[in-house]
């Protein structure tokens, strides 16, 4: 009896010590800052809830900011050592911040996820061969066309080449109220200080097989292709076939108000048209290419990155993986957002969704031909100080295109040096 009792005590003691010996996962709190739109926010909140459920020891504290000034806040928070663990970073901020070593290298944690994403999107999250961010958004550009206006002007269905586009734009430009002033334009193109001027120029250049920055981040603005692209762009203005410079700050307004029959736009048009102009019948087509050119478009990409000051980089990388492998991208697609994830678009429920939304499907169709923002850490400065004024001058016809690009190239190189 005593022996039995002793054995029982030993067994119980062993069981208890095993219980105490089991390593409890240390509770971790991840801080996320973001500037998501309401449509994007829902998907993120669901993902956070699902991640916390799947990882009970990790809690996520999320703080939302307006987009304007978000990166100023991030920078100053980083300098003050109070940056979040994770934040979304977009366009030229990615190479700029990566160059300063702000992000954690998550290559070892997520490099196997590359095949989930379209190449341009995944590439945007890499810097000098290392993965510094996982894509969460990809917004390619397509050509929106007002079908009624095209039919009325007798412009056919074929808008495949640069010549088709220029001819159509010319036919669609008119004085609708006979007051001697053109008030309806064939095409609405960005101009002036609009951030998309560079993007559209990039598209026309890429369609000839060239880029505006080489693989080392050096600007190459003076190639024949770059000059042809900017000249083609400028011709729309000189022929009066596009909304004049300064016509309106937001391009989409001209399309929504039927002041322009066509417009190069991104997936934001999918949200705005039903709200602002539900009666306009429009379709989306790939941006026309030059004869013997290659299909190409531009896509702005956003990535989730882990900050160097994070005390929990492994857990943060775990969240990045969860965003990829879970339902986050599917939820974004259902909220009307285009996704950088090719795997998400292959899900049966998403395919079914796309069948009912052919316009969204058009954006998906051009994802593979998309190029993203050049990965030059000097891009913001080059755009603002070297390129913008020269592009403006070329588009307004104040300076010949070759001269404008020559000047821009010199200024850009001096910035890099």
């Amino acid at each position: 009896m005593k022996k039995c009792l002793r054995s029982l005590v030993i067994v119980i003691g062993l069981l208890i010590s095993m219980g105490f010996g089991v390593v409890q996962a240390e509770p971790v709190t991840l801080k996320i800052w973001d500037m998501m739109s309401p449509a994007d926010e829902d998907g993120l909140l669901k993902a956070i809830a699902a991640f916390e459920e799947a990882n009970p020891n990790i809690r996520i504290e999320r703080e939302k900011f307006p987009f304007a000034g978000f990166y100023d806040k991030l920078l100053t928070a980083f300098a003050g050592n109070s940056a979040p663990d994770l934040a979304p970073v977009v366009i030229y901020y990615i190479p700029q911040m990566a160059d300063y070593g702000i992000f954690v290298d998550v290559t070892d944690d997520v490099s196997d996820l590359a095949d989930y994403y379209y190449p341009a999107a995944w590439d945007m999250g890499t810097y000098k061969g290392r993965v510094v961010g996982v894509p969460y958004s990809m917004d390619p550009r397509a050509l929106g066309v007002n079908t009624a206006m095209l039919d009325e002007a007798g412009v056919g269905d074929t808008l495949a080449t640069w010549d088709d586009l220029v001819n159509a734009a010319g036919k669609l430009t008119r004085d609708s109220n006979n007051d001697g002033r053109t008030d309806v334009y064939g095409l609405s193109l960005p101009s002036g200080t609009h951030a998309w001027v560079f993007d559209v120029w990039s598209i026309f250049t890429a369609q000839q097989g060239k880029r505006l920055f080489d693989d080392t981040g050096k600007p190459v603005f003076t190639t024949t292709e770059a000059e042809n692209a900017l000249q083609y762009y400028a011709d729309f203005f000189s022929q009066g076939a596009t909304t004049p410079a300064g016509y309106d700050v937001a391009l989409r307004d001209a399309f929504v108000q039927e002041k322009a029959a066509m417009a190069i736009d991104g997936p934001w048009i999918l949200e705005e048209m039903p709200r602002r102009a539900p009666d306009i019948d429009y379709r989306l087509i790939p941006i026309p290419t030059p004869t013997s050119g290659v299909p190409a478009t531009f896509a702005s990409v956003g990535v989730w990155s882990v900050f160097r000051t994070s005390k929990h980089p492994k857990e943060a990388a775990q969240f990045l993986r969860f965003l990829t492998e879970g339902d986050y991208q599917k939820d974004r697609i259902f909220a009307g957002k285009t996704s950088p994830s090719r795997v998400a678009y292959q899900r049966p429920e998403v395919r079914e969704y796309l069948e009912k939304d052919p316009r969204h499907a058009e954006f998906v169709a051009v994802m593979d031909q998309a190029i993203a923002t050049p990965k030059s850490p000097y891009l913001a400065e080059i755009l603002a100080t070297a390129l913008r004024a020269e592009m403006e001058a070329a588009l307004l016809g104040i300076k010949p295109v070759p001269e404008a690009l020559e000047t821009a190239q010199k200024k850009a190189l001096s910035i890099i040096q």
Binding site: Y71, D72, L75, T76, F78, A79, Q96, M97, Y100, G101, I102, G192, T193, P244, A245, G246, Y247, D248, V249, K259, A380, E381, A384, T385, R388, A389, E392, A393, L396, I398
Partner: protein, 295 residues
């Protein structure tokens, strides 16, 4: 006498104690950051990496920075456009409202309201006023046969458009200062002038204007300092374009610091602005301050 010096010492200590909180705050929130910025102006500093001493390189770069030099010229253009016109309009309004008019209070309030309205809100409204297609300005001009202008999109019109908007916004403040100045002029002087048969213009020229010189000088100095710090309306309405025709010194500082992450260079630009404003204030004081008789 020992008691007297002890008393004076006590009084002095009390004085220092009273000004101490303000001086400490001023030191911590102004002197220290300014000295910090001065140090940073001699460094390469990207806010996320430690400052790296580079001596005078930032200042040398300033001298060959065409865009910064253009920004200085644009800022000077803005100042020359806003200061004299704004002061003249403010003086006219102040003289007109310095009477026992009915609704004088209403008019003073109306002219002062833009002053206290946020520049961001004002800029957004004026973006619509200047809109080439839907803006009320082009609509009204169209009624009198003037063709629509690309106010903010044409290099010739963009800065004058910003100047006009800034004058509209700021005239109320100077008007109130002039009103205060006018109300400080004794009525007996006007009575005496009336008795002597002086006309309105003679009264203004020989009584009002000379006695308003202290106010005028103050407005001139403060307006000069303020106009050289123009930023919000440029940032919101034109982002420095078109063709860099509206970029200003503070806009360049903002871009260098928060868009290009070049805090060191931005600090050097800020000190260049300080030197410029200091020089202008000295010129104002030298050439106009001497004409002011505060007695």
């Amino acid at each position: 006498m020992p008691n007297s010096s002890k008393h004076h010492r006590r009084l002095a200590l009390a004085g220092y104690a009273f000004v101490a909180p303000g001086m400490i705050l001023l030191t911590l929130l102004w002197f220290v950051p300014v000295l910090g910025a001065l140090y940073l102006s001699f460094t390469k500093y990207a806010i996320v990496t430690p400052p790296q001493w580079i001596g005078l390189a930032n200042y040398k770069r300033l001298l060959s920075d065409e865009l910064f030099l253009k920004a200085i010229l644009n800022t000077a253009y803005y100042a020359l456009g806003t200061i004299p016109v704004g002061m003249i309009i403010a003086l006219i309004l102040a003289v007109a409202l310095n009477r026992n008019l009915r609704l004088a209070g209403f008019f003073r309030l109306s002219y002062y309201l833009p002053v206290i309205t946020s520049m961001v809100a004002v800029s957004m409204i004026w973006l619509w006023i200047y809109n080439p297609e839907y803006g009320i300005l082009n609509f009204l001009l169209g009624k009198i046969g003037i063709s629509p202008k690309l106010w903010l999109a044409h290099p010739k019109w963009a800065m004058p458009s910003i100047i006009a908007m800034s004058i509209w916004k700021g005239v109320g403040k100077n008007m109130m200062l002039y009103l205060a100045g006018l109300q400080g002029i004794p009525d007996q002087l006007y009575d005496a002038a009336k008795v002597d048969g002086a006309t309105g213009w003679k009264t203004f020229r020989h009584i009002t204007w000379p006695l308003l010189l202290p106010t005028t000088f103050f407005i001139l100095v403060v307006s000069t300092i303020g106009s050289f710090q123009v930023f919000e309306q440029v940032y919101i309405m034109t982002q420095g374009g078109p063709l860099n025709s509206t970029t200003t010194v503070v806009h360049q500082i903002y871009q260098s610091a928060f868009q290009f992450f070049k805090m060191g260079y931005a600090s050097a630009q800020a000190f260049a602005l300080f030197v410029l404003i200091f020089a202008l204030s000295w010129v104002n004081n030298r050439f106009f301050g001497g004409t002011v008789d505060y007695s």
